[in-house]
């Protein structure tokens, strides 16, 4: 395992002098530029710990950025480029997980929590309302009187 790490680190740190990286990025239109900028933020670098392609200095991330740039320039759309990445590295590269049966819980979970939360809230408040409507106990009345008296 440790060996694998060492190797991955070296791969991450490999000099990429042989490859023309960082050629000025020019796009045919703003839509292409936006697509490129979005994609390199939403795709994960597979070599790195947990970084998107844009954040990573790793050699592979640079190569992939270049690939995405070229595909974008060639007029490929987001789905095509995403498919290119997924067919090679799997769903793992997507920081925005696709909506599919095994991610239903992921995507709808928070809203399920919210729904449950609201139901609990309504139940608790409803119970309180009934308690409240029953009127105040003598002790509570005394407390209330104290409260109002103390107000300036």
């Amino acid at each position: 395992m440790r060996r694998l790490f060492a190797c991955l680190l070296i791969l991450a740190a490999m000099p990429v002098a042989a490859i023309p990286v960082g050629t000025p990025l020019e796009f045919a239109n703003p839509a292409q530029e936006e697509q490129y900028q979005t994609l390199i933020r939403e795709l994960r670098c597979t070599v790195c710990q947990n970084q998107s392609l844009v954040d990573s200095n790793a050699g592979l991330a640079r190569d992939l950025r270049r690939n995405i740039y070229q595909m974008t320039r060639a007029g490929q759309d987001r789905e095509q480029i995403t498919e290119f990445m997924v067919s090679r590295y799997g769903d793992f590269v997507l920081y925005r997980p696709p909506l599919q049966p095994n991610t239903y819980l992921l995507w709808f979970g928070p809203f399920l929590f919210l729904l449950v939360g609201v139901l609990v809230l309504v139940a608790v408040i409803g119970r309180q309302r009934r308690a409240h409507d029953r009127g105040l106990s003598a002790e509570e009345r005394a407390r209330l009187a104290e409260l109002t008296r103390q107000r300036p």
Binding site: M1, R3, A6, I10, A18, G59, L60, R88, G90
Partner: protein, 175 residues
């Protein structure tokens, strides 16, 4: 009742974390398994004139090994690869993001277990194979379909328990 539920949820969470301890978060299953090898054509590393193409991987079950001279853990598995080659297992290589001189010097030192080696200086074919860390080893069926992928240096255990039986069954099915 509510308490039973919360204990149950908490227990599940602990179980999940415990299961997580046994997993390797860095190992990625390859979507290429079960699919034909990517189409490629590369210059042969040793023979500057020759070409190495995906068709070469058909006909019999073989190993496809991604390596580089700068890769430290590739050295760790090199001995095993030599052993396999001597035993007659067909191994093909992909020399990934390397320079020709260094790669050749590397093979001079350690021996050459490969029947043919694609020279992928730009790493583009590596990307098509979904390579993310060298060494990687693929098991290819006689029909040119990828059957298995191992990331990291090969070990004797992986070989005897998984890879060699797989190669045998693939060849057996074909004949």
């Amino acid at each position: 009742m509510r308490l039973v539920v919360s204990f149950f949820v908490f227990g599940l969470l602990v179980l999940l974390l415990w299961a997580g301890l046994g997993l390797n978060p860095r190992e990625l299953p390859s979507p290429l398994v079960g699919r034909p090898t990517p189409v490629f054509e590369l210059p042969e590393l040793l023979d500057g004139e020759g070409r190495f193409q995906h068709q070469a991987l058909r006909g019999q079950a073989s190993l496809f090994n991604v390596w580089a001279s700068w890769c430290v853990s590739c050295r760790a598995e090199h001995g095993l690869l030599m052993e396999l080659a001597r035993a007659g297992v067909p191994i093909y290589g992909l020399n990934y993001k390397d320079t020709r001189t260094e790669a050749i010097a590397y093979l001079r030192r350690g021996g050459n277990p490969y029947r043919a080696i694609g020279f992928d200086a730009a790493g583009q074919v590596g990307i098509d194979w979904g390579v993310y860390g060298t060494p990687e080893t693929f098991v290819i069926g006689p029909d040119g379909v990828i059957r298995y992928k191992h990331v990291g240096p090969l070990s004797r255990r992986v070989l005897t328990e998984t890879i060699l039986p797989l190669l045998q069954s693939l060849d057996g099915a074909a004949s």
